[in-house]
């Protein structure tokens, strides 16, 4: 019988007779039997996470073996580019996340599970849309690029997935099928991926079969989600009062409908609660089954999963089926072959929650409470320009009528073979592919409505994307140990071919409803404007050589050096190849004799690394001068929407020398362990220098072209620190408590723009932008006006720089308006007075995990947060200005109504002559937050019950996600991707119950 150090049976322990092929495994009760030839034979007991033990058979027939948990840091293996490495001899900066942490939070996208788990990795969930479809921003140690991608390269079982342009969506894969995630943070670890490595690399390893009895694990949970932190808007009466006041201030007559607030209250009561109309409680369900097992020769792992999540906004949902089969076969003594194969189908029913004009959230914030979503007869209603002064789309109509369905099929797989040519020398070939087929369908039926801008022409759009990617990878690996010198050499050749194809069409003007097809026999367009067709395709190819050497002396002095040459089709003929070198050094000081005396010290390793990585993310062929043949002009007897007569001219000049962005990174780190590693800590200091940043350098339009040309110009620096602390606070038989704290901090500064000019990015609804890229500042800092309270009287206006001149309060600056700071002191407030009004980057982010085990109970508390980050809360642009007679937030009740009434909320005036609502520090809020991201309580049913039911282990658990958020931020959610909050899909609070069983 095999037990652990506390006497608990260990099932699945592999037992081998030393120097022979005979082997077996322990059963559920930790028991085994094995026929041995002689008493002198030695049994080898091995089990993942435990120190391998050898036992002489001797005379004893009942061998009782106790395995000791292995010294984690020595035995742990991390996944690196083109191989694995023992954690002990890692000299670069790599962090790992286990499957347990990945599945601890109920997320659709494993990328979200990284949040707060890895020092140096900042994860921002862009949206609470179901299925993680809004994307998750993963940034490893700040950003490396201003115009190109900042997404880390994601390598799934050795297959580098093509970048998706937008923030990562890994939701094609079930988090349940992942065994571990390793994050290659510094350049020496990532540089083996060369021209794609500048944002770090995330290595995802899926579950593979293990030798032993068949293990079936099933996990099912079901949850309820709700919106929380919704803002309070004015009720019907309050809205009428404020709207009248704002109109009168603009010399407009009150809308007759609202003129008498008491009558409004009688008719509408509290009025329509539009947020309540679009938000709902929603269910989510997840079920996964993993089956794995195998013999020494053949191992398999099969996973399948189903995930379904309704969104907390009506009419949004996500559904996913996944299946994965990973197999390993030892075909002969020297040949191993294997495969990974993942299939998935995801189906997304989205809603517009991302644009500054028609996001349903913004529409629901602004829609007046005196407008109803439906008429008494059930037909759609909405605002009417004439009656309500408001005819923005009715959000309920917007959710229910236009229909979108995005379906995605993905097949990702590879086959590999590894042949041992000689002892220590092996050759591996890996062939992989990734097929993404996506169908995007839209149907806009012209369903009538008595208000709110209904769709007037029925339209159908259909688009199919097919993105196949192929990989060939051939590596030679040589391992040799000569006395105290260990070598590992890797040489490889890889090619990858990424393609995209898109084909789509749309028609508008269907005369009947209910036929969302493009067939000519349903609808034959008569006018060019009723139809559009498009087709696009492209290819990006990489051809690369890689080489790496690992050397250590006695496991104490460790050296790694690597080099990669990448050839990329993205660059011009003279500039196709780049070389990316890196090296790292480590000293395991703990193994030195003079340190061994300090018994309280259990680990001490110093690390240093340097490397160069690159970023190839520019559109293909930008080294060529193209003719833009889309320059049409409407000649002829064209009184309608007839086609444009074709015109063609160059609209961009070319830069034949365009190349990759370089990123140089220095990392200094140390790992420390105390008291037999009860307390361990890891600290890394780094500096990342981005050189030759790709900027689209604006051309003078005097050149007759307008497209900015990509140039390698500009530099950026990120400096930061990653800190991890693990502590086992209690380790008793019945009570265990361990704690993990990770902390990440970095500073980002654009040190040079080179030839480029400052770039204003940001908010589409107000010209001029709200984010700025400028030398000497963090990238995309908030750019706008500084405010200095409110003008209380005319004398204060007269004494201040001119804002909107004039004497009529309806058309010029008047008491109650915001006083903007005359930054350039020229006596006029204009665009020149815009300045730095905040940094969207947090001072630091953190994750704090506590796991408690008491007898059969397990409690985990995961707290996560960010400190010092600012958010430009642009919801307030909508909710404090009555856009088009729209509603106000109840915060606006405290507006200025006379001298001394407010020094922060301006007067109500509809046409806003003073431009109180321009981008200013008034809307920049401290969005620091601390969030109880997840609280999970599990109870394992006593094993004696389970044994009779032939169940190895069964746990019942409940968890709450987003239980509590402590923040001063006034918007929906302080976690905002990109720093500007325009009413993105807020995250839900989720309560769920689940059951996990192993058979």
């Amino acid at each position: 019988k095999v037990t652990d150090e506390k006497g608990e049976a260990l099932p699945g322990v592999s037992i081998k007779i030393k120097n022979e092929t005979v082997s077996t495994q322990t059963n559920v009760n930790g028991e085994f039997s094995l026929r041995v030839g002689s008493e002198n034979q030695v049994l080898v007991f091995s089990y993942l996470g435990f120190t391998t033990k050898e036992v002489l058979v001797g005379k004893n027939r009942n061998i009782m073996v106790t395995l000791q948990p292995s010294n984690a840091s020595l035995e742990e293996v991390v996944v690196v580019g083109y191989g694995t490495q023992q954690k002990a001899t890692v000299s670069s900066s790599i962090s790992s996340v286990s499957s347990r942490e990945i599945t601890a939070t109920p997320v659709a996208d494993a990328a979200q599970a990284l949040q707060g788990r890895v020092a140096g990795v900042t994860v921002v969930q862009n949206s609470g849309a179901p299925g993680g479809t809004g994307g998750t921003g993963i940034r490893i140690r700040g950003i490396s690029s201003v115009t190109g991608t900042n997404n880390p390269l994601i390598v799934l079982d050795g297959f580098p997935l093509p970048d998706q342009g937008a923030d990562n969506v890994l939701n094609s894969f079930s988090p349940g099928e992942i065994e571990s995630i390793d994050v290659l943070k510094d350049a020496s670890a990532a540089s083996i991926y060369g021209v794609r490595g500048s944002n770090g690399v995330i290595m995802i390893t899926t579950k593979r079969g293990k030798e032993g009895v068949v293990n079936i694990n099933a996990d099912v949970y079901r949850g309820m989600q709700q919106a929380w932190r919704l803002p309070t808007m004015l009720n019907a009466r309050e809205y009428a009062i404020l709207n009248n006041e704002a109109r009168i201030a603009s010399l407009l007559n009150p809308l007759p409908k609202l003129a008498d607030p008491t009558a409004v209250q009688q008719e509408y009561g509290e009025g329509t609660d539009w947020l309540d109309e679009i938000f709902r409680g929603a269910a989510m369900t997840n079920a996964t089954v993993n089956i794995n097992g195998g013999t020494e020769k053949a191992k398999y792992s099969f996973s399948t999963g189903y995930f379904q999540q309704d969104g907390i906004i009506e009419e949004t949902s996500f559904e996913r089926f996944t299946a994965r089969f990973n197999g390993d076969l030892k075909a002969s003594k020297r040949l191993k072959i294997g495969n990974s194969l993942a299939l998935s189908r995801t189906k997304e029913d989205p809603a517009n929650t991302f644009d500054a004009f028609n996001s349903v959230i913004l529409l629901a914030l602004t829609a007046p409470p005196t407008v109803r979503p439906r008429n008494p007869d059930g037909t759609y209603a909405g605002g009417n320009g004439g009656i309500d002064g408001f005819d923005e789309p009715n959000p309920v109509y917007q959710l229910e009528v236009p229909q979108f369905l995005n379906t995605r099929f993905r097949l990702t797989g590879s086959v590999f073979g590894e042949y041992e040519i000689a002892t220590g020398l092996s050759f591996k070939a890996n062939l992989g592919l990734d097929f993404i087929t996506q169908s995007l369908r839209g149907y806009n039926p012209a369903i009538p409505s008595t208000g709110g801008r209904p769709i007037i022409r029925t339209g159908v759009t259909d688009q199919t994307n097919f993105n196949p990617s192929y990989l060939g990878e051939f590596t030679l690996n040589y391992t040799k140990k000569i006395k105290d010198h260990s070598f590992n050499l890797l040489a490889g050749y890889t090619v990858q071919d990424n393609n995209f194809n898109t084909l789509g069409a749309g028609r508008t003007g269907y005369s009947v409803l209910g036929f969302p097809v493009l067939n000519d026999n349903i609808f034959r367009p008569v006018d060019l404007s009723e139809t559009y067709n498009f087709n696009g395709f492209g290819t990006n190819r990489l051809l690369s050589y890689v080489g790496r050497i690992n050397y250590d002396y006695k496991g104490k002095y460790i050296l790694q050096a690597s080099i990669r040459q990448d050839g990329s089709s993205n660059f011009g003929p003279d500039n196709k190849y780049a070389i990316f070198p890196a090296f790292s050094l480590a000293w395991r000081a703990i193994d030195e004799d003079f340190i061994k005396n300090y018994t309280w010290l259990s680990d001490l390793k110093l690390r240093f690394s340097f490397g160069v990585v690159g970023n190839q993310d520019i559109p293909g062929f930008s080294y060529l001068a193209g003719i833009n043949s889309g320059i049409g002009y409407a000649f002829g007897d064209n009184t309608g929407s007839g086609g444009l007569v074709a015109g063609a001219a160059p609209t961009a000049l070319s830069n034949p020398n365009i190349g990759w962005e370089k990123n140089q990174q220095i990392n200094i780190g140390f790992d420390l362990g105390f008291y037999k590693n009860r307390l361990t800590t890891s600290v890394d200091l780094y500096q990342r220098k981005s050189l030759d940043l790709l900027f689209r350098v604006p051309v003078p339009t005097t050149s007759g072209t307008y497209e900015p040309i990509p140039f390698n110009t500009g530099d950026m620096v990120n400096k930061g620190i990653d800190f991890t602390l693990n502590s086992v606070n209690f380790d008793k038989k019945n009570f265990k408590w361990n704690t993990t704290l990770v902390l990440s901090a970095y500073d980002n500064e654009l040190t040079s723009l080179g030839l480029a000019s400052p770039i204003n990015n940001g908010f589409a609804r107000i010209p001029g932008g709200s984010l700025r890229v400028e030398q000497g500042f963090p990238v995309n800092y908030f750019y706008g006006f500084k405010t200095d309270g409110i003008f209380q009287n005319q004398a204060e206006i007269d004494a201040h720089a001119t804002q909107t001149p004039g004497t009529n309060p309806a058309t010029s600056t008047a008491p109650g308006d915001i006083r903007f700071v005359d930054v350039n002191k020229d006596g006029v407030i204009n665009d020149m007075d815009r300045t730095n009004i905040g940094n969207p980057n947090p001072t630091f982010t953190y994750g704090f995990t506590n796991n408690f085990t008491y007898k059969n109970f397990e409690l985990s508390l995961f707290i996560q947060g960010a400190e010092g980050n600012k958010v430009l809360n642009f919801n307030r642009w909508y909710t404090e200005s009555g856009v088009s007679n729209g509603n106000y937030s109840n915060y606006f009740i405290g507006r200025w109504t006379g001298e001394g009434t407010s020094n922060s909320i301006p007067r109500a005036i509809q046409n806003d002559p003073n431009q109180n609502n321009r981008v200013s520090d008034r809307f920049v809020e401290d969005a620091s937050y601390l969030r109880i991201k997840n609280l999970r309580l599990g109870y394992s049913l006593p094993s004696k019950w389970m044994r009779t039911a032939k169940i190895q282990k069964m746990q019942i658990y409940g968890s709450v996600q987003n239980l509590l958020t402590v923040t001063n931020y006034t918007g929906f959610d302080p976690e905002v991707g990109g720093g500007v909050d325009i009413g993105y899909y807020p995250q839900a609070r989720i309560f769920l119950l689940g059951i996990n069983a192993s058979f």
């Binding site: 022409r457 051809l543 043949s629 320059i631 002829g636 007897d637 309608g640 929407s641 160059p650 006029v828």
Partner: protein
């Protein structure tokens, strides 16, 4: 093999190497030179009308129309996006015209007529774009060959006089090369009449009355050749079905957008931007920009000066909305209200109005099909009337007045009174056709625009506003571009 693997050819685009081979390529090249007109005239109202005493910004207030407000209030800075867009559209056209002038003669298989026409169009368009630049900015970079990036980064401004010399030379070439009329899908291209008409306007702008009179009379005398005449009903000028009609000397061509949301596509944005705000009689509900001033409204001659309902000038109704104006079509039963957001007097520009119910002319997004006139035949008449003076010219202004249901001008007006009458006539005849600001500038009295705008309540206006600041985005890149006082 390795080399081929990475050297991909773009198979979904045309490059400079494989173009300019056929007659169709040549025509496409010249069509591209027309295209910036669409964007330029989608912007033109912000300069021609809003800066003038004819309209105010309007819109939704607040940050809405901030860059228009800068123009309206004479607080414009070099960062104003309308300025840089105006500049860019002009130079896009100039460079494309230059490319056409260089490439068209080299195209192997091109008919003589298409070659001449294309070259004539290129000269015409280049002149039109420079004319727009020189009036707004004064001295501007002048080049007549395709410019390289390096040259564009260093080119300096040329004196205004040189630019005008080039404009006149180009138009003189164009009037020789261009045909008199077009049919079918070529309608809307520049004709010899267009070139002569614009040339007359250039002369008038320069104060060269002799040449202006001669050139405009040449057009009047050959009106039959070019097919020019006045519509009996002034309003017929602004009907979709009359585009490129008999009164059109040159107009910017648009089609409706099909969901297009851009100033720089094939559609015209004025319908949405000027439609009465949030009244839903045009697509995208109407934004109510470029709101007519009370002063302009008061210029329309009334039977009873105290009663605005007795306006007898028939140009008012097709030109602008006033309270009480009705529009009925299909489900729409609309009455212009007494006031609207951004329009305290309940006025809105109407010349470009295509109702939302006209699914052909205004079918989605921001953009409508209605062309924008650059020059109408009535302007040729008024140019001659102004340049020739009262003795010879009065009958031509009277012809324009008669069409508007107004009596002839009294005889024996002083030169000053006659000029004032011409100015008033032009203001009403071309209201919202983006001429007004440039008319104010070209007045013989250099302070005229200042006096008029001061009287209109724009107290910020000063002599320096004759020329707008050079866009900072250009100066950031090209250190040789000097700045105007602003």
């Amino acid at each position: 093999c390795k080399k081929d693997f990475l050297n991909l050819d773009p198979n979904d685009r045309i490059t400079t190497e494989n173009f300019y081979q056929t007659e169709a390529d040549a025509v496409a090249a010249i069509n591209a030179a027309y295209q910036p007109l669409a964007g330029l005239y989608n912007l033109m109202w912000q300069f021609g009308d809003i800066m003038s005493d004819d309209t105010d910004t309007g819109g939704g207030g607040g940050g809405d129309g901030a860059s228009e407000l800068e123009l309206d209030n004479f607080t414009v800075t070099p960062f104003n996006s309308n300025l840089s867009n105006y500049w860019a559209q002009c130079y896009l056209g100039i460079q494309r015209a230059n490319i056409a002038i260089e490439k068209v003669p080299t195209v192997p298989s091109i008919s003589e007529s298409v070659k001449n026409r294309s070259l004539g169009e290129a000269y015409f368009l280049r002149a039109v774009y420079y004319f727009h630049l020189v009036r707004l900015f004064g001295d501007v970079p002048l080049y007549t060959n395709p410019i390289s990036l390096e040259e564009a980064r260093t080119i300096a401004r040329s004196p205004r006089a040189d630019v005008y010399t080039q404009i006149i030379a180009d138009l003189r070439q164009a009037e020789q090369l261009l045909p008199n009329t077009y049919t079918g899908t070529n309608k809307g291209r520049a004709t010899a009449g267009s070139a002569k008409g614009i040339l007359a306007s250039v002369y008038l702008t320069l104060g060269n009355k002799t040449e202006a009179a001669a050139k405009s009379l040449e057009v009047i005398n050959n009106a039959g050749l070019y097919g020019y005449d006045l519509w009996d009903d002034y309003g017929d000028n602004f009907k979709l079905e009359n585009e490129n009609g008999k009164e059109s000397v040159f107009e910017v061509q648009y089609r409706s957008g099909g969901g297009q949301w851009t100033f720089f596509g094939g559609g015209q944005v004025l319908n949405t931007f000027m439609g009465p705000r949030a009244q839903n009689i045009v697509q995208s509900s109407g934004y109510g920009f470029s709101v007519p001033t009370l002063d302009l409204f008061n210029q329309y001659e009334r039977t009873n000066p105290a009663d605005s309902s007795t306006i007898r000038d028939e140009r008012r109704r097709p030109s602008m909305w006033m309270p009480g104006d009705k529009f009925v079509s299909g489900p729409i039963n609309y009455t212009q209200p007494a006031s609207l957001v951004g329009s305290p007097n309940g006025f809105n520009t109407k010349k470009y109005f295509i109702p939302i119910t006209n699914l052909t002319g205004d079918n989605g997004g921001w953009t409508a099909a209605k062309n924008i006139p650059v020059m109408r035949y009535s302007e040729i008449l008024l140019i001659y009337a102004e340049a020739a003076g009262p003795t010879l010219g009065k009958q031509y202004i009277d012809r324009v007045r008669a069409r508007a249901n107004l009596n002839p001008l009294p005889a024996g007006l002083s030169d000053a009174a006659y000029l004032a009458a011409i100015y008033k006539e032009r203001r009403l005849e071309f209201a919202f056709e983006m001429h007004r600001w440039f008319d104010l500038l070209r007045h013989p009295n250099p302070n005229y625009f200042i006096d008029v705008m001061r009287a209109a309540g724009k107290t910020n206006v000063a002599a320096k506003h004759r020329f707008m600041p050079i866009p900072q985005s250009e100066r950031d890149i090209n250190p040789n571009l000097t700045q105007n006082d602003y």
